[in-house]
Subunit: 336 residues, 2 copies
């Protein structure tokens, strides 16, 4: 069905001007006669002419597109990807489109499809990497890519040399702690991976622990066992936690998927939420609002995150490329 596309020469002929004038008129270059410009626009419209982006990008050495890589768990199917990353993808898409840029997306999970050369091939002007930190091979690949000069910015902090962006995790942990204390909880636990390459989890725990410390409280830290995904980890973690610390009456989970698993595990164990045990998650994913009771959570400002990631990716100034933090706020719903 591919019909022959018209070129700027066709438009030029129809408008009775030179090809260079067509280009200038259509790009909005200054110094083109208004009448000429109108004639060219009309001709272009009549022919259904659209500028060839490859020719244009080749000439301009800029593609006005951002490449977004999402790291997945090997073997995981697409509908099992943590919805937080889909939401982040959506907000990155919004920020990208607000600048008139295109967004190239790539889901990567193993050596078969690891790829970091989007900028090197000219396909994109900058690259953003998000997704699970549990895929060590993937992050190793991107660390090597970075070392060999392929630059990018990423969400979280799966490796030290990266340009990263994170949530205000310490503040989030602190807000969770204060909410528990204010609502009279004293036997408190934190559920989340320790030593995760995802430094964000540590930050949430540390902020939580520090704030609790101010009240003379120390949380039990329950590290989830390995499992298929965060939800399954949450279920398993809470079983172990309740066995060792049956008196627990408040749990802060390092992420919403983990929290949803914890909620499931709590119900399985016959604990009422929030009556017996209060629960707070982190991420603000949609599924949390669908849970019963709805999940209380720390919600990062995703619009800000998308905008900041795109801005950071496009910016060449090293100074702005590290340490940016995205604000979070506590959304009180049913579980705490």
């Amino acid at each position: 069905m591919k019909t022959l596309r018209p070129t700027s020469f066709d438009v030029a002929e129809r408008a009775g001007v030179s090809q260079s004038t067509v280009s200038r008129a259509l790009r909005g270059s200054p110094g083109v006669n208004a009448e000429t410009r109108a004639r060219v626009s009309a001709a272009a419209r009549e022919l259904g002419y659209v500028v060839d982006r490859h020719a244009s990008s080749l000439r301009l050495k800029s593609s006005e597109t951002i490449a977004l890589v999402t790291i997945c768990r090997p073997g995981e199917d697409r509908s099992a990807i943590n919805p937080f990353y889909f939401a982040l993808l959506g907000s990155i898409a919004a920020a990208t489109s607000a600048r008139g840029f295109n967004l190239l997306v790539s889901f990567q999970e193993n050596a078969d499809n690891f790829r970091a050369d989007f900028v090197a091939s000219g396909l994109a002007d900058a690259m953003i990497v998000i997704g699970t930190t549990s895929n060590r091979a993937a992050w190793k690949y991107f660390a090597d890519a970075q070392a060999s000069g392929l630059d990018f910015v990423c969400w979280g902090s799966p490796g030290s040399p990266f340009h990263w962006m994170r949530s205000e995790n310490d503040i989030g942990g602190q807000l969770a702690a204060e909410h528990f204390v204010a609502t009279g909880r004293r036997r408190i636990a934190f559920v989340g991976p320790a030593q995760s390459p995802q430094r964000q989890f540590d930050e949430r725990r540390d902020g939580f622990t520090a704030a609790l410390g101010l009240h003379g409280l120390t949380p039990v830290v329950a590290e989830p066992p390995a499992a298929a995904d965060r939800h399954a980890q949450g279920v398993a973690a809470v079983q172990a936690l309740l066995a060792a610390h049956p008196e627990t009456n408040a749990i802060f989970a390092a992420s919403d998927m983990l929290a949803l698993g914890v909620l499931q595990g709590l119900k399985d164990a016959g604990r009422r939420v929030p009556d017996d045990v209060a629960l707070i998650g982190f991420d603000g994913i949609r599924a949390g609002t669908l849970a019963d009771p709805a999940l209380t959570t720390l919600e990062p400002d995703l619009d800000a995150a998308g905008e900041a990631l795109v801005a950071m990716a496009l910016e060449d100034d090293e100074h702005t490329r590290s340490g940016t933090r995205i604000p979070v706020h506590l959304v009180v719903r049913g579980t705490a």
Copy 2:
């Protein structure tokens, strides 16, 4: 930070061959001496050379990329997008990457960002359109685009002249009906929009109604009132349904998000699920597995859907471009 990228001429110089030989060697063209090819590959690797995709695409008149447009509700933020579309996006990405193609994504919601010229500009070889049918303005825009020669394939059937792909909705409706009958339900309702541009809803209802008819049963059809999203519609629909037909003991909802709203509404009304009322949804979204009880649903084979959409988009043969159906199967979980 953009360092000067090496070109094929640089590689040629380093390998001591002509630029044409570099191109042939790197593309894997036949008739290149093995030793020469190795020398060129080594030189390319040493220089960190990557083929410029714009130059290549310009020359080849093919970009090996698919454009995927997702229609959103105006004003909806990205984390509120129906997860079914994110899952579909993921499976399209998988099918795309399996062919070595790139995926360009674009979320569109209003006249500010409507765009259908991805193929016309050479950016993509084909376009796929998915997303909510509730955005009439968007589908009007794409209908016009189609009429003016901008071709694409889409999920569902928001308009008649489109190349579309759908689930086996009638079979899904039939499976739901048979499950209810087999488990002894007789006072049955269907919750879903009638006259929706989303013909798939009608097909599900019709398959359901027809199969029930074989058992001498007729479902009550409850049309959800307008609301912010499908979930809110489900909540509202079930309230009205129970008021008019309190005896209802089984509900088939046209989509999972609707079903999750129905589940919420049922709980709010004090009905036990599945004891008092059984519930079946459609889509197989992840959030359904997280519900309490977990949602029984009709799940389309998304891998097949992604693969078929990409194949259909790339295929020029008109015959294969309409009427393809994706198989669905009943996943029995807690609600029915």
